[in-house]
């Protein structure tokens, strides 16, 4: 029993490491000309992995459904963008970036997290 509990514990630690840190997104939302809609609710951005081509501008349309203060702001730190998101209304954020790379975006408290990949 004791061995089983310890194995379960170690397995849980390994799972946390894999699931939250080592896992890499396979499918990301792509820009298809129009705006990419991102819902802000229940602690997550849906979708939370976005891919846009370098050198082209893209519009991310955030629709915040969560009234909690945590969801009020979205910050793209590497792009110097921080915008307040109104509850129940779409907010368009236009992204224009040339440099390829992954740009994280998150709420003020870093609880909502997403990534923008410029390819």
């Amino acid at each position: 029993m004791s061995i089983l509990v310890n194995l379960l514990g170690l397995g849980a630690i390994a799972f946390v490491i894999y699931w939250f840190w080592l896992w890499r997104p396979q499918n990301a939302a792509h820009s298809t000309g129009g705006a990419i809609e991102i819902t802000v609710a229940d602690g997550v951005y849906s979708p939370n992995h976005i891919e846009i081509p370098a050198g082209e501008s893209a519009t991310l349309r955030f629709l915040r459904k969560d009234p909690s203060p945590c969801a009020a702001m979205v910050i793209f730190d590497g792009l110097n963008i921080s915008e307040e998101l109104p509850v129940g209304h779409a907010k368009d954020i236009r992204i224009q970036t040339q440099e390829k790379g992954v740009y994280k975006f998150n709420c003020q408290m870093n609880m909502y997290q997403g990534s923008l990949k410029v390819v």
């Binding site: 939250f20 896992w23 203060p69 915008e83 907010k91 003020q108 609880m111």
Partner: protein
């Protein structure tokens, strides 16, 4: 221009450069090829202008290698710019580049561009309506682009179209359109949503505590919390199901949030709460369902913990929502400045109309006690106008015909009519609100560490909780399973990193708001932090330390001549001149309501003076050499003239009908409070340097009067940026250099400094050109900015310290570190309360910053109290 090496320079069209760092990169890449002092990057026009010899193909390649598509622009304008003018022209783009150090507003709704119009659309029921409405808008002359956002029923129109035509175009196809509501409405909607959320949180709290408190009281009063097979088992099973209902109703969002985050491979606050309370409930239910399977001493249930934790966290969130509302009071006060209606005069009739219906060019009336509705220019009337909430300037300013008035300012005494020059989101007030909102969202570098930690915090805590559980299971006392559960749950609950995440933004929000109240507009978080760390401050002289507008200081007449008559003659003569000193004399005469005559036989000698005949009297006005040229002995007044020169005034000798008549001293007056403000800066340990193009003697005279020891004089405008660069290079490691100037002319130097302060009076350029804009002309604004910066950074550090200490100490205690020493294991309920209070503490400490008063304001307050 097609040859490889161009001696004249080049104008290169680029794409995709969007920020100050792009500018730096481009300049850096061009450094081996040309003189980077002669390179300017215009982000708005997307051009790189090189005003020196350069190998064009190499320059194009260097820029392309950075990832920016680059083409040589065959632009005649570049070649036509005279050398002397180019510096001035290139200053503006440099100024524009500063904008990019601030958070970018990428949304069409809030660009604040003069050409962007936002409309609310009604009647659009399906996505197919969108293209119809966009087509209708695009058919209006002047529209460059129109796009509709179906989700929030708004349309963004760019170009120079007439608003009424746009509305009509939409109405003609069967929909409705109005000008989008302003910030005040947004704020109202936000407050409404916050209030509704606050009430919902309270309801959740009452429900959860309604169950948790009686259960907890039962346990504390000696009631049985252990499950024994039999009747009590069924009772606990029933209580468990009730608890589940309460958890779902009051804390359902934690579980759904946690699950969604998990599916997205991210972990958040909900993860910790859901895991902690879920584990406590599952364990308790297992005990209640199969007590025989659990050792007797571990048959404890923790339903009260789950309910209490959810109740307390809801309470903490509610308190946080309330405290957060207070942090944005500065914005609310700015929004309150905007009147809801304006009195417009159309076809001779006066009527009050909603502010959003005021159009450019409308004639408006403002009566005493009313606020100016939009930015405009006074057509008729005279009044004292209080612009203090906009500029921080406490003394009302007199406005008369031709003067500019700003939306939000309070008209105090007289009635005036004025023409609307800027309306809606183009007014200075609207731009200030937009800028303050943006700056409030920006984070200073200080907060980055907390961000990095909080981004990985939750999974780390999950691992710590598992380790704590294993340690208790393997080495803990009996009942090991119960202890293991309590320790892991407590770690999960206490570790929420909310306080860490809130520490910086809350202080920034209040600090930027406090600065705005003092007429100091901070554009970005970096500037907010760095302003307080400046070791050296370079002050431009003209317009910054001085008024920037010469005026007559003194008149000395010889042989008892009438000073007023001398001024009248001199002003009549200078009417024909456009020299700034001459204009100062004319203005002084007009201020005294003197009647001026037209000069006859006017003649001007560059660098010497002017002559002409006024009412039959031959008048000469100019420097000593001008007198010598005209064989007039100026020696009786030379000593006086030298004294005036030592006071930084320019003495102008005057002769009438061939005889010396007097000397008129014209000087750019020092602002009344420059000396006090500079003293405030020096008291704060700052090295203050005056930078000017004036001759050294005159500059030193001014410096002495205002208490500045160091002077860098005789600097050409285009060399100011180089001076700042040199000072930065010479500064000790980590010492920062700030530059203060009056907007456009000093833009390159402002951009070069670690922190650029533009002294402006609410003009667009001043707002856009620097890291920090001082809305009033006084240097006290500079000292206020530095004090606000220091207070804010101190507040952030307190918050970060509190949050770090809380987590660093809280987690080990929750894991049971004190148990071997004192036999104490923290209750999960206590952890829930502590976790909620940590966020409330941080937000409350940030709110404490609202009580901040600058040293000048405090001194004034004390004086008023003494006087009372």
């Amino acid at each position: 221009m097609n040859q490889a090496l161009s001696e004249q320079g080049a104008l290169i069209a680029i794409q995709g450069a969007g920020c100050q760092s792009c500018v730096k990169k481009i300049k850096h890449a061009l450094a081996p090829l040309t003189d980077t002092d002669k390179v300017s990057v215009d982000l708005q026009a997307q051009t790189v202008s090189i005003d020196a010899a350069v190998d064009i193909p190499a320059a194009l390649e260097a820029i392309r290698q950075l990832g920016y598509p680059a083409e040589l622009k065959e632009n005649e304008q570049h070649e036509e710019i005279p050398a002397g003018d180019h510096c001035e022209l290139s200053a503006a783009p440099e100024a524009a580049t500063k904008e990019d150090t601030a958070p970018q507003d990428a949304s069409p709704q809030s660009t604040g561009q003069a050409s962007a119009i936002q409309l609310n659309i009604t009647g659009a029921k399906c996505a197919a309506c969108v293209s119809k409405i966009e087509q209708a808008l695009q058919s209006v002359p002047g529209v460059a682009s129109a796009s509709m956002n179906f989700a929030d029923r708004t349309a963004a129109v760019e170009g120079d179209a007439d608003m009424d035509a746009l509305i009509q175009a939409v109405e003609q196809i069967g929909y409705g359109a109005t000008l989008a509501t302003d910030d005040a409405a947004d704020q109202e909607a936000k407050e409404k949503a916050e209030l509704a959320y606050y009430k919902q949180l309270l309801r959740n709290m009452w429900l959860a505590l309604g169950l948790g408190v009686p259960l907890m009281a039962w346990g504390l009063l000696g009631g049985e919390m252990m499950v024994q097979p039999g009747l009590s088992q069924f009772a606990w099973l029933a209580i468990g199901l009730i608890t589940l209902g309460v958890m779902a109703k009051s804390g359902g969002h934690f579980y759904t949030g946690s699950w969604k985050a998990f599916k997205n491979h991210s972990a958040n606050m909900d993860t910790l709460i859901a895991t902690g309370t879920g584990a406590a409930w599952l364990y308790s239910m297992a005990v209640a369902a199969l007590p025989q399977a659990v050792p007797e001493m571990a048959r404890h249930v923790y339903f009260e913990a789950s309910a209490m934790i959810i109740g307390l966290i809801n309470l903490g969130l509610a308190l946080e929502v309330r405290a957060r509302g207070k942090t944005s009071q500065a914005i609310k006060r700015l929004l309150d400045l905007q009147p809801k209606t304006a009195r417009v005069i159309r076809d001779g009739d006066e009527k009050d109309i909603p502010i959003e219906n005021v159009r450019k060019g409308d004639l408006l009336r403002v009566r005493p006690g009313e606020k100016i509705a939009v930015d405009g220019e006074v057509r008729d009337g005279k009044s004292l106008v209080d612009e203090s909430m906009l500029t921080g300037e406490p003394i009302p300013v007199e406005k008369k015909q031709g003067d500019k008035v700003s939306a939000g300012a309070l008209n105090k005494t007289g009635s005036m009519t004025y023409v609307a020059v800027k309306v809606g989101k183009d007014t200075a007030l609207a731009q200030i609100i937009a800028m303050v909102k943006k700056a409030q969202n920006a984070k200073p570098p200080l907060g980055r560490l907390a961000d990095k930690i909080s981004a990985v915090f939750v999974p780390v805590v999950l691992i710590i909780a598992v380790i704590a559980a294993l340690v208790w299971y393997n080495f803990g006392p009996d009942p090991r399973v119960a202890h293991m559960l309590v320790a892991a749950t407590t770690v999960l609950i206490i570790a929420c990193p909310c306080a860490l995440g809130l520490a910086t933004p809350m202080s920034v929000m209040v600090g930027v708001g406090k600065a705005a109240e003092a007429g100091v507009l901070i554009r970005n978080g970096g500037a907010l932090q760095q302003a307080g760390e400046l070791a050296t401050l370079v002050l431009d002289k003209t317009g910054t330390i001085t008024e920037g507008k010469p005026s007559v200081l003194e008149i000395h007449a010889v042989d008892g001549r009438d000073q007023t008559e001398l001024l009248r003659l001199a002003a009549s003569l200078e009417k024909a001149s456009e020299h700034p000193l001459g204009m100062a004399i004319v203005e002084s005469a007009r201020d005294q309501s003197l009647t001026l005559s037209d000069p006859v036989d006017f003649h001007s000698e560059s660098g010497q003076g002017v002559t002409g005949v006024i009412d039959g009297v031959t008048v000469l006005l100019g420097n000593r050499r001008w007198m010598e040229t005209n064989h007039i002995d100026a020696s009786p007044l030379t000593e006086m003239a030298d004294k005036l020169a030592e006071q930084a005034a320019t003495p102008l000798f005057m002769a009438t009908d061939g005889a010396l008549a007097g000397v008129i001293a014209v000087a750019d007056k020092i602002k009344s409070d420059s000396r006090d403000a500079i003293a405030r800066l020096r008291e704060r340990g700052m090295r203050v340097i005056m930078l000017t193009g004036d001759v050294k003697r005159s500059a030193e005279a001014i410096a002495k009067q205002v208490g500045v020891d160091e002077v860098i004089a005789e600097v050409l405008p285009e060399d100011k940026a180089r001076v700042i660069r040199d000072l930065r290079q010479k500064a000790a490691q980590g010492e920062l250099v700030g530059m203060v100037g009056d907007g456009v002319n000093d833009a390159p130097a402002l951009a070069e400094a670690d922190v650029g302060f533009a002294i402006g009076t609410g003009t667009d350029v001043a707002i856009e050109s620097a890291d920090i804009t001082l809305m009033r002309g006084s240097l006290h604004g500079l000292a206020d900015a530095i004090e606000v910066s220091r207070a804010t950074v101190r507040n952030i550090k307190q918050n970060l310290f509190g949050a770090f200490v809380y987590n660093v100490l809280g987690i080990p205690v929750a894991a049971g570190l004190l148990y071997p020493l004192f036999g104490v294991l923290m209750s999960p309920v206590l952890a829930g309360a502590a976790m909620s209070m940590s966020s409330v503490t941080v937000v409350s400490n940030a709110n404490r910053l609202r009580l901040f008063k600058s040293s000048a304001a405090s001194a004034q307050h004390q004086q008023e109290e003494k006087a009372a």
